[in-house]
């Protein structure tokens, strides 16, 4: 996994509550057996005026001019500002894959759905939950200034605004450790293989019906 230390990038808005994973990446694109290539279909139903198909070249599709990411001022954005309960709905990891493939490294919102939040960390994307008032201030500052960029310093757990304000944020220490160092958590878990085997042996003793039935 790619590491996340300090990232500075243009912020773009997804200014609505309860953005679900169907909206982030519609189901027809979930038929892919790959992890990459979802970027052109991020927010497909909002971004284009027609219905997208998997495998299609999106360069000639009609764009929705009202959608923020289609506006020149948000070109190259890598920080997404969003509203409450971002990423609700399905467990599809295609949602963070699409955000990542588009170029987003960080999503800032008042709250996230649990599974999406978790999936982000597995893909080098940092989701940051801030109180709603702070998020609202960031939205207003972004709308007021073209090219509004934020610097996200994960080791210091601080967001730096163009006005020089430092906004502190919380992140679980294990997740931070994995993200900062770009660690593969399967490798880390396998360091506990002995403990897993011991647990498994005791578990089998307690509940033998959980083993060896499906084969």
């Amino acid at each position: 996994m790619k590491s996340f230390t300090v990232h500075k990038g243009v912020a773009a808005p997804m200014d609505r509550a309860n953005v679900d994973t169907d909206l982030i990446i519609p189901k027809q694109f979930l038929k892919s057996i790959k992890r990459s290539g979802f970027g052109p279909n991020l927010f497909d139903e909002l971004r284009y005026l027609d219905e997208g198909q998997p495998g299609q070249d999106c360069s000639g599709r009609p764009l929705n001019p009202d959608f923020a990411l289609n506006q020149p001022r948000y070109a190259g954005a890598s920080v997404l500002l969003a509203r409450e309960n971002f990423g609700c709905g399905s467990s599809r990891e295609h949602a963070p894959w699409a955000l990542d493939d588009y170029g987003f490294r960080c999503v800032i919102a008042p709250s996230f759905a649990d599974i999406f939040f978790n999936n982000c960390f597995k893909n080098g994307i940092l989701p940051i939950a801030l109180d709603a008032d702070t998020v609202e201030r960031l939205f207003q500052a972004m709308y007021a200034q073209e090219g509004f960029a934020l610097e996200i310093d994960l080791p210091a757990q601080v967001i730096r605004t163009p006005a020089g304000e430092d906004i502190a944020f919380e992140v679980e220490s294990f997740r931070k450790h994995c993200l900062v160092n770009g660690l593969d958590d399967i490798g880390l878990t396998l360091e506990s293989a002995g403990a897993i085997r011991d647990f498994e042996a005791a578990h089998r003793q307690r509940a033998p019906w959980l083993f060896d039935r499906i084969r």
């Binding site: 038929k31 892919s32 467990s91 963070p96 978790n118 893909n123 679980e172 403990a195 307690r206």
Partner: protein, 477 residues
């Protein structure tokens, strides 16, 4: 020390180790696999040269992409018309063969929607930790299990280590006491709960459903409720083990038998919250107060009793809710103040991991028996949740009831719940659907979903508009 909740007990029984920051390695008893969220995980194993930790913990079944049309289905994987869907289903077959994982392939009688198949085969059991790369894994919590959805990276992690790195959730008790009115079902109960706490109300919690209504409910009803915990934001929903649970599990293919059955039952009898257990949040509803529910907007929390009028956005509590409602009205092509019973579906879908079990089909069949689908309905699909459900329904003659009413009787799969196969809504079409999500575009580009119970969907199919099924006159045979 306060007693433990059901969730506390399930958690404690599966913790391998706890780290200083509160994260834990949680042991996973059952891992269910389907074709959409697994290919990248298997590829990850291959690239790292890893093997599954424990083969017998896994069970795979294709469901999201499979055609439900009988003719297309008859030809198996090779006959799937959409080449992209075909490749995904074929990839699951190949991965299961390569890694030696048991799979119920496309035309195996045991095939079906993964969350119907698991309990039906006894592959998911009380006391288990159950995960799957699918958010509706919460369904299996109805058995008194800790079950929740995971992403594809975690699918790979569970395959490789039999564990998840996770952190304990908070406890929420949703207690529904009293009695349900005639015609009101588990689907209406869970929609009413979502309407009460909102689509993010359960975020960070494991929900236990309890109370007189839940105790009186069948296992299949409990599955419907736990299934939609995720629509309330909670990854996991669950119900304590009781005689209803044990009666359901006994005799199923992968359930323990003989001496092991008695041993298992003794352990499962402990799977309930202690009388003095402490919950972080308690939500209470009265069964009598719950009317048949219909969603009108683009989030499951936009739900009302069937006899209500659509809300005025200005009357809503927050600016955000008001803005969301305006957007939903525009997308749905509806006006504030409209009576729900004046909404006219174009299509009807009875199926999905929420409502495709035999009791759901019986409930719908009772409503349409001897009647005809309204002329204004373009299509009414009935999609059984598994081959076993289909066979049972046909043995009871339910297929004839649906076909005689002008409905289509299909092969098992996820179908129009998420429209990854050919079953989908056209732009602007309204659907009375027994599925679980009414998000924009969920059932097809521009499609407009109304979530309801099987009985409500069936009644809407006959009437051509939503009706209060509490007043429905059923034909006697």
């Amino acid at each position: 020390m306060a007693g433990q909740t059901l969730y506390d007990k399930l958690w404690q029984q599966h913790v391998v180790e706890t780290r200083d920051d509160g994260t834990a390695l949680l042991y996973i008893d059952r891992h269910l696999i389907h074709e959409v969220t697994s290919p990248q995980a298997f590829e990850g194993l291959r690239l790292a040269g890893r093997k599954p930790w424990r083969l017998d913990a896994n069970l795979a079944v294709p469901d999201h992409n499979v055609p439900t049309d009988s003719a297309e289905r008859a030809g198996g994987v090779e006959a799937i018309a959409d080449p992209v869907s075909q490749l995904q289903v074929r990839t699951l077959d190949d991965n299961c063969a390569d890694f030696n994982i048991v799979e119920f392939a496309i035309n195996d009688r045991r095939q079906g929607i993964v969350h119907v198949v698991g309990p039906e085969q006894g592959a998911t059991l009380p006391g288990m930790t159950v995960v799957c790369g699918d958010s509706h894994t919460s369904t299996h919590g109805a058995l008194g299990a800790l079950a929740h959805g995971i992403g594809t990276s975690e699918v790979e992690h569970v395959l490789a280590t039999q564990c998840l790195i996770t952190r304990k959730m908070k406890n929420m008790l949703v207690r529904i006491d009293g009695q349900l009115q005639r015609g009101v079902t588990a689907k209406d109960v869970v929609l009413a709960v979502i309407g009460r706490i909102g689509t993010a109300g359960g975020t960070g919690y494991a929900i236990e459903f309890a109370g007189e209504v839940v105790r009186d409910m069948s296992m299949e009803g409990r599955m419907t409720m736990c299934n939609m915990s995720i629509e309330a934001g909670a990854r996991a929903g669950m119900v304590a083990v009781d005689d209803t649970t044990l009666d359901y599990v006994r005799g199923r293919a992968y359930a323990p038998a003989d001496d092991q059955w008695e041993q298992a039952v003794a352990a499962w009898r402990e799977l309930h919250s202690d009388a003095d257990a402490r919950f972080d949040r308690v939500v209470e509803l009265r069964g009598e107060d719950i009317a048949p529910q219909v969603t009108w907007g683009t989030s499951p929390e936009m739900v009302l009793p069937v006899d209500a009028l659509l809300p005025q956005p200005d009357s809503l509590a927050s600016a955000s809710a008001c803005e969301s409602a305006r957007r939903a009205f525009e997308y749905m092509g509806l006006e504030p103040g409209t009576a729900i019973t004046d909404i006219r579906p174009d299509r009807v879908f009875i199926g999905s991991c929420t409502n495709s079990r035999i009791e759901d089909l019986r409930e719908a069949a009772a409503v349409v028996r001897g009647k005809r689908v309204a002329a204004s309905i373009k299509q009414a699909l009935v999609v059984p949740g598994s081959g076993e459900v289909k066979a049972q329904a046909e043995a009871e003659g339910l297929d004839r009831v649906f076909i005689d009413a002008g409905m289509e009787w299909r092969e098992p799969g996820c179908s129009m719940c998420l429209a990854m196969n050919a079953d989908k809504l056209g732009a602007g079409e309204h659907c009375a659907s027994t599925s679980n999500r009414n998000f924009e575009g969920r059932q097809g580009f521009g499609g407009r979903t109304h979530l309801v119970s099987p009985a409500m969907a069936a009644a809407a199919a006959v009437a051509g508009h939503f009706v209060d099924v509490r007043n429905w006159q059923e034909e006697t045979q």
